[in-house]
């Protein structure tokens, strides 16, 4: 069972765009469902808000962090020898 799982994953790893498209399709379906349920009046939340918000904010988060890294990143041994960052990590 594990072997098959690993093989499947290896296949996906080689075809990332496939995964992405599948995800996009799932997202589209969810958006549609969301909208439908809202129209049907099952709940009164703002429709499709979660998805868009999540997408935008995540992009913003990563880009913001990327920008921040320019400011805050230092060499790994910056705090050495008073930190473990640059120490050999292999432990028993």
């Amino acid at each position: 069972m594990m072997r098959r799982l690993v093989q499947k994953l290896a296949f996906l790893e080689k075809n990332p765009r496939r995964v992405f498209r599948a995800l996009a399709a799932l997202g589209g379906a969810l958006l549609a469902l969301d909208a439908l349920l809202w129209i049907a009046g099952v709940y009164k939340n703002i429709p499709v808000w979660h998805g868009l918000y999540g997408f935008v904010m995540c992009v913003a988060l990563v880009l913001g962090a990327k920008a921040m890294r320019h400011i805050v990143r230092r060499r790994e041994d910056y705090y050495a020898p008073r930190a473990t960052d640059s120490e050999e990590e292999r432990q028993p």
């Binding site: 349920l37 918000y53 995540c58 880009l63």
Partner: protein, 564 residues
């Protein structure tokens, strides 16, 4: 009738016995039996408290109620899982430290007064630092020292607060208080340090990646959640907590995205999760508090599971740096599955434990009219998914293949992870069991209504899409080695340098001053010695002639006085 021994005391007593049990199966079995036995005790102990007097103070060394009970339960579970995970370990020092740590944390949960709380609060610090020092080496030593200073600072603030509290009220009872007196502020700060309030948080990200593989699993369970418990007990519905909590949820996720050390990523994410709980406590409605408590409960399980899976990788590969890992799903598929389950839980996928505990907090923030808070929490939720839900499993087990081919994690680790993973799913599927144990009745609340489920799924899927988009477009920042400066830079670098400079110059100055004093003394001495030495004015060999002169002078002076 309360049984004489509280679960925490049981663990502490057990910790004292551990060194005397031969290493190996006997000792590990004993260590596993302790929390199980503790759960049995917890089952037997009814609600109530034990009053006592010590040193002239009325204290309540033991108190059991709904809030304490559920925390006790999860602490015992966490102890069991962590001990199981550490089955292979043959280090008495770590064993004792870990059980003192767990036992003290449990005892602190059942402390009914500030004095008892302080006692165990400090013991928690002492026990836990052993798990960092046990890694051995210069870096771990200094990291542990920094950690210990922070923890002690928290304990001392608590001590100061307790003193003030006793002065103000004449009692030491630990119950809800308001931020209106020095005592409350001091205690609030003490809890705040352990809960990782903004600017008081760095010890978490500093120390947890520096612990031993098994030690960090213990660490991730107790200290911060003890603080959450204490806040829930002492400062429910304190509005300041809402804003503090929101900040806690937001800023760590930025760091988590760019951090290379996966255990530090988890530490940032831990901080972010604490933020949700703090918000819940700050909102303070029964449902919100329940949410915070439930979230703490679930969080302990999935966070320790995450640390366990990363730890298992570390155990086999020797590092937890994202740059060194990748493609490990081939070698450690089971670990990967458990990691993904934990990631799903922390991301609050429906049917996983995080979902059922985070929802009450989110809906109460909305219900309480905290719109901005709700927006930010939502952002934080998406961020959590991004770094904990995707980044951890992705960079460990997928991404580019690091080429490392190792064995699957050892059996006992898999077992511990399996149990934890099972609990994550079980709670997610059947939340009523957990809801029933919460301090306040949950009524007919359910997280599984359509709006919640669909909204959450949407959020997560689109976050994943964003990740995919960024990865495919190459915008995603590549993992690189390095450390990121956080607030701790101020004291680890700036203050340290300043202190060294100032301290050094003060010492130099002191030596100089002392040197001057000695120098002046030397000059005075030599002058005196010359004055009084042989041949000096006051020296021993003075002729009679000068004496006669002196006599004459004195006589004339006397006469002058007399005649004047």
């Amino acid at each position: 009738m309360i049984p004489l021994i509280a679960p925490g005391w049981l663990l502490l007593g057990g910790a004292c016995l551990i060194p005397f049990i031969p290493k190996g199966a006997a000792r590990t079995s004993f260590m596993l039996a302790l929390p199980l036995f503790g759960m049995g005790l917890l089952w037997l102990i009814p609600d109530g408290s034990l009053a006592a007097s010590f040193g002239g103070y009325a204290i309540t060394p033991f108190r059991m109620d709904g809030l304490a009970r559920i925390f006790c339960l999860i602490f015992l579970i966490a102890t069991f899982l962590s001990a199981l995970y550490a089955w292979h370990l043959r280090d008495s020092f770590q064993h004792v430290s870990a059980f003192i740590y767990a036992g003290a944390a449990l005892s602190a949960l059942t402390a009914g007064d500030l004095l008892t709380l302080f006692v165990f609060w400090e013991l928690v610090s002492l026990g836990s630092v052993g798990l960092i020092w046990a890694r051995r080496g210069e870096g771990a030593w200094h990291t542990g020292l920094r950690y210990l200073i922070w923890q002690m600072a928290s304990g001392l603030l608590l001590l100061g607060g307790a003193l003030f509290f006793f002065r103000e009220t004449g009692s030491l009872a630990f119950d809800a208080m308001t931020l209106q007196s020095p005592s409350a502020w001091l205690i609030f700060l003490a809890f705040g340090i352990k809960a990782g309030f903004p600017l008081l948080h760095n010890w978490i990200q500093d120390a947890y990646p520096a612990g031993t593989i098994t030690g960090t699993v213990f660490l991730s369970c107790f200290t911060t959640k003890l603080a959450i418990y204490a806040l829930a007990r002492g400062f429910p519905a304190t509005e300041a907590l809402i804003y503090i909590g929101v900040i806690m949820t937001i800023f760590p996720i930025f760091y988590a995205v760019i951090e290379n050390d996966l255990r530090r990523v988890l530490s940032y994410s831990l901080n972010n999760q604490l933020g949700f709980m703090v918000v819940g406590i700050g909102i303070g409605t029964p449902l919100a508090i329940n949410g915070a408590v439930a979230h703490a409960f679930c969080h302990i399980i999935y966070k320790s599971l995450l640390f366990m899976s990363v730890g298992a990788v570390m155990y086999r590969v020797g590092t937890a740096k994202a740059t060194e890992l990748g493609g490990l799903y081939r070698s450690m598929p089971l670990t990967m599955i458990f990691c993904v389950i934990a990631a799903a839980s922390i991301s609050a996928f429906p049917l996983f434990s995080g979902f059922i505990s985070k929802s009450p907090i989110l809906s109460e923030s909305l219900g309480g009219g905290y719109w901005v808070v709700w927006f930010l929490l939502l952002f934080a939720s998406a961020g959590v998914f991004h770094h904990s839900g995707i980044k951890i499993p992705y960079f460990t087990f997928f991404a580019h293949d690091s080429g490392r081919r190792v064995r699957e994690a050892p059996m006992h680790m898999l077992l511990a992870m399996g149990i934890a993973a099972f609990l994550c799913v079980a709670i997610g599927v059947y939340p009523q069991a957990l809801y029933a144990m919460l301090p306040f009745p949950m009524g007919d609340y359910t997280a599984y209504d359509a709006a919640h489920v669909i909204g959450q799924l949407e959020l997560l899927i689109f976050s994943a899409l964003a990740f995919g988009f960024l990865m495919l477009s190459g915008l995603y920042p590549p993992e690189v080695r390095g450390v990121n400066l956080d607030w701790d830079w101020v004291y680890r670098r700036v203050l340290r340098r300043a202190f060294e400079r100032i301290g050094g110059s003060v010492l130099v100055l002191g030596d100089k001053v002392w040197g001057y004093v000695l120098g002046v003394w030397g000059v005075v001495y030599s002058v005196l010695a010359r004055f009084y030495g042989p041949g000096g004015l006051m020296g021993p060999s003075r002729a009679a002639g000068s004496m006669a002169l002196w006599t004459a002078i004195l006589l004339s002076l006397a006469l002058l006085f007399a005649y004047s």
